[in-house]
Subunit: 213 residues, 2 copies
């Protein structure tokens, strides 16, 4: 018996014989919104909007024809000069930009370019009303993680039909094998003195456009 | 019996009693390319390229990272000033444009704007090697039919994995309920004296970019 096997044997002995027998875990989650929270799709969208705002993110509703104008207005409002975007972002979302340079992430932009950008624009995989969360999975119009973690501003376009009620609903729809990023408001952390620090691990500013189709 | 019913009765009588019995139609089509034509995917792509060129269209191969550059080069080469595109065209395809204005078709552009544009850029649903055809079905990155029928120039981006061997293969994959446009070279028609006239019913110039992933 090698030293490694001897050590593992002792560890297993110390852990006791009932390893592998897992106690039952109650999974009585609230899988859907209560009736008071959502009687209709409009209620789900309204709840999402409220919770995104609670998370200190900006949120705005736009019609399907107005996405390009709304994106341009958001970027102009921040005096944005250069943004980075996934290469498969729908062109219409950026069609009204004027004076803002958009860099597609193909071939992959280097870190200096991402850090120098004023922000990024992406879509999302889905969004969660109850927690005001947008979830990215690296799929269409989302690109790789660095795009939304390095620049200081993230503008995320959410179609109303991408909003689900609760986290369990979202988990049920997502593929756990994909690189998931759950974003509930701008990046924030708390130091030992409980002082809130924004932007330490991701964008300091998050803005969400809800597209009502 | 109304006059209408009387007329229909006489028509049915004249057509005879065996209506609805259809003679068997032989359907022994060549559903796949012969081995000589295609032993590999590379052969299918090569055949498509050759046949597109035979159809008097321009065709070029580019790597996945080079689409933006190739689109810009094609448009600059034609001294294009303004193009129209579907709103969901991947942004990366137009990311390198400089001095060319791209108008997204949302809200729908009016006919004058389409007619004044120097060209359009779209993707396709699939392409057929044997006939050098690109097929549009109004799906992703393709937009409505007017976009590719009104302007005089159409640049179509085809991913190599969208190319099938034969027309029966293509028909098998397409949804007959969608608005299908089959494009084999630039628009051409022949008058009574058999003189070829290009651009009468669609773009006079077709250019195809084959993206090898």
């Amino acid at each position: 018996m090698s030293s490694r096997e001897e050590v593992l044997r002792r560890v297993r002995e110390a852990l006791g014989g009932d390893r592998g027998v897992r106690p039952p875990v109650p999974r009585g989650y609230a899988r859907r919104l209560t009736e008071a929270e959502a009687e209709s799709r409009a209620d789900v969208v309204a709840l999402f909007t409220e919770r995104v705002a609670d998370n200190r993110a900006a949120v705005r509703h736009v019609g399907a024809d107005e996405v390009g104008t709304a994106v341009a207005a958001a970027l102009w409002g921040r005096e944005t000069k250069q943004i980075v975007v996934p290469a498969d972002l729908p062109f219409g979302w950026l069609a009204e930009l004027d004076g803002v340079r958009a860099l597609a992430d193909t071939p992959a932009l280097d870190l200096d370019t991402l850090a120098a950008a004023d922000g990024s624009v992406t879509g999302c995989a889905l969004a969660v009303a109850q927690t005001g969360t947008v979830v990215l999975d690296g799929g269409r119009a989302q690109g790789r993680r660095a795009l939304t973690l390095v620049p200081g501003y993230h503008l995320c376009v959410v179609h109303a039909d991408q909003i689900v009620g609760t986290v369990p609903e979202a988990v049920g729809r997502l593929d756990p094998a994909r690189p998931l990023t759950w974003i509930s408001g701008p990046s924030a952390t708390y130091g030992i003195e409980a002082a809130r620090v924004e932007g330490a691990h991701g964008p300091r500013h998050l803005e969400v456009l809800v597209v009502e189709d």
